[in-house]
């Protein structure tokens, strides 16, 4: 592939970028120079788009009621739903970021993989079935089951929209940069293509189209990654030990790549990162929505089981791909920017940056057409993830804010769905605009922030309202607000924003990840405020817990009953 021989100049320190991007789940590629146009990749992507638009057209014909739009009519099977959940997780940065992280730091990549995965069992053991038994379309349905509709919908929708906004900005900027590199298209084109396609998928096809786009992409990505990892192992006689030995012999850090390095040097930081990853998963609105697309609680729990297996398998593949990158790419000058003497930096000198390890490895093991395939899949990945986010945001606006808060439940289904479609269009346009504005900003912290907000606002409000009788509206409202403000505030005062973006000399909050502090603070606030709340409404809400409890444990009353 000729394209690879042209040096692409990158700004910023790439090792740092790879680390933050892995957490960010939205690759921050630094300043990127556009590459030559990559026609095979564009062709394959165009095919993906045509195919998914066909599905959207079909889905649009079958999407009439609100249940169709928000929850695909409850007709998604456990297997399909697990692929969609896994797809929401296998973002471009899980794939490119973590394989790049393994390439530079070896073992440290596993810290992120495990953190992203272990949230799932918790979701299954404590939340999934109860969520399914109590709710209808959004997690706010569940949180507001016996609490005041207006207050709880407002705090839940705010939490949802904040998470969606930060996640979307990171994905849009990541998409733009990635497409410059992979396809050789200008930044703004990429942002507009992503924005317009996600509007079309969501506004016309609702949850059905959004799910199927995610499922197709998940299959393509799992297939591609399996092929790559298989090809790497094939070269080492299917013996991982030989692969590791070759990697250690090639890597400048040598044997250090097999042990924890300096990535998580501070214990508090490591634990706070773990808390954010683990509980953030349990509070991501676009993922929680997926539990309403299956027919019953049994299907909900099966989908978590399969999804955990798929995601775990995917992370093990990513790890092999990272090590394959070390052993197969690191000694080949064709993949690096060379200096005058023909020497190159093995860690930072890769053409296109360290996030391109998986892409370059595709070329090494499968040739230019496989490279095109992986590039197209990477773009499809971003597209599928932003579509899910847009749907979650649009549902919060129409189902929570409009139908319950503004119209006080007096709204017909048609109007609500129409508003949801309008909201999807508006969110899409805002996302294109923000993607354009943030082109040259450091956005790597934003997905980390989204996870922290999900762990500190959505997750506490949801679990406390389901699991603790004593929770009252005031407790949930103030606790959720405190968690939200604490998470955002601590990130703003941390190094990523306070020093890097605002240019202050020292960070006021010493850690990059706030969840260890902001999440317990939210739980504590909900507890204390609820305890102090002895209004008549609070007493009624506690009394209503029994009915909620019976339904959350058994699903009795869930069919035919109104969800709120």
């Amino acid at each position: 592939m000729n394209r690879l021989k042209h040096p692409i100049v990158l700004g910023g320190t790439l090792a740092v970028v790879a680390v933050t991007a892995a957490f960010a789940a939205g690759p921050d590629l630094g300043a990127v120079k556009q590459s030559a146009t990559n026609w095979p990749a564009i062709g394959m992507f165009a095919f993906f788009v045509l195919f998914t638009l066909g599905i959207t057209y079909k889905a649009a014909k079958g999407t009439k009621s609100a249940a169709d739009f928000y929850a695909a009519g409850g007709g998604i099977s456990a297997g399909t739903n697990s692929l969609a959940i896994a797809g929401d997780y296998m973002s471009a940065a899980s794939f490119l970021g973590i394989s790049g992280l393994v390439y530079t730091s070896g073992f440290d990549g596993l810290i992120y993989s495990t953190g992203f995965l272990v949230g799932w069992p918790i979701v299954l053991f404590l939340i999934a079935e109860r969520l399914r038994n109590l709710g209808k379309f959004t997690f706010a349905d569940v949180a507001s089951f016996r609490l005041d509709q207006t207050s709880i919908r407002i705090i839940s929708a705010t939490g949802t929209l904040v998470v969606v906004a930060f996640y979307l900005i990171a994905q849009m900027v990541g998409a733009g940069k990635l497409i410059q590199l992979l396809f050789g298209l200008p930044y703004l084109y990429a942002v507009i293509i992503v924005g317009v396609l996600m509007i079309v998928y969501v506004a016309f096809g609702g949850m059905k189209a959004t799910t199927w786009v995610q499922v197709i992409k998940a299959c393509l990505l799992l297939g591609g990654a399996t092929f790559m990892a298989g090809a790497v192992l094939y070269k080492y006689g299917f013996n991982p030990e030989t692969l590791f030995a070759a990697a250690v012999a090639t890597h400048p850090k040598g044997d250090a790549i097999m042990a924890p390095g300096g990535l998580v040097s501070n214990p508090i930081e490591a634990i706070s990162l773990g808390v954010g990853l683990m509980f953030g998963t349990a509070g991501l609105p676009h993922i929680l929505m997926r539990f309403f697309t299956v027919s019953d609680a049994q299907a909900a729990r099966k989908s978590v089981f399969y999804a955990t297996g798929l995601i775990g398998y995917f992370y093990i593949l990513t790890f092999i791909i990272g090590f394959g990158g070390i052993s197969l790419l690191m000694s080949d000058p064709a993949y690096f920017t060379l200096d005058a003497a023909g020497a190159f930096d093995k860690l930072k000198g890769m053409i296109g940056g360290t996030n391109m390890v998986a892409v370059n490895l595709a070329n090494a093991v499968g040739g230019p057409y496989f490279l095109g395939f992986i590039s197209a899949v990477a773009f499809a990945t971003i597209l599928a993830v932003v579509a899910g986010l847009t749907l979650a945001g649009a549902s919060a606006v129409s189902h929570d804010l409009y139908a319950q808060v503004i119209a006080r439940g007096r709204v017909n289904e048609g109007a609500e769905v129409r508003l949801s479609k309008i909201a999807a269009v508006v969110i899409g346009i805002v996302a294109i605009y923000l993607g354009y504005v943030f082109e040259n900003q450091n956005v790597a912290f934003m997905v980390g922030l989204a996870f922290s907000v999900a762990a500190s606002c959505n997750f506490p409000v949801l679990t406390m309202s389901i699991l603790w009788r004593g929770t009252t509206t005031w407790g949930a409202l103030i606790g959720g607000l405190v968690g939200l403000i604490a998470a955002v505030g601590m990130v703003v005062l941390s190094k990523a924003v306070w020093v890097t973006t605002f240019g202050n000399p020292v960070a006021i909050f010493p850690y990059d990840n706030p969840a260890l502090f902001s999440m317990p603070l939210a739980f504590l606030t909900i507890f204390v405020v609820s305890k102090l709340d002895n209004t008549r409404r609070a007493q009624r809400e506690r009394a209503l817990f029994d009915a909620q409890f019976v339904r959350s444990e058994t699903g009795i009353g869930a069919d035919g009953a109104h969800a709120h």
Binding site: L117, F125, A245, A259, V264, A270, M278, V304
Partner: protein, 102 residues
Amino acid sequence: MSDIETARVAQNPNFKALVHERTRFGWTLTILMLLIYFGFIGLIAFDKALLAVKIGGGTASLGLFLGVAVIVFAFILTGIYVQRANGRFDDLTAALKRDVGR
């Protein structure tokens, strides 16, 4: 559902067994998962040298095996829960629904 119906379900012995068993089982597995994961993170934070120990005289380190083990454990734990839920818990729920005529 009316208050009388709620009370009727809540008093049912199958309901009590279901809630008791599932709550205990769910929290036990949750605590197990938390211990495994934060044990792993704790080792990374406080005992890096232990994780660097080689296994079987080869290149692969203990940390690598533990990291993969955390992933596999997460999968196995969800499997154990789903098996118990699809068997015992669903049976109890079905029996309960028969009892209360839903």
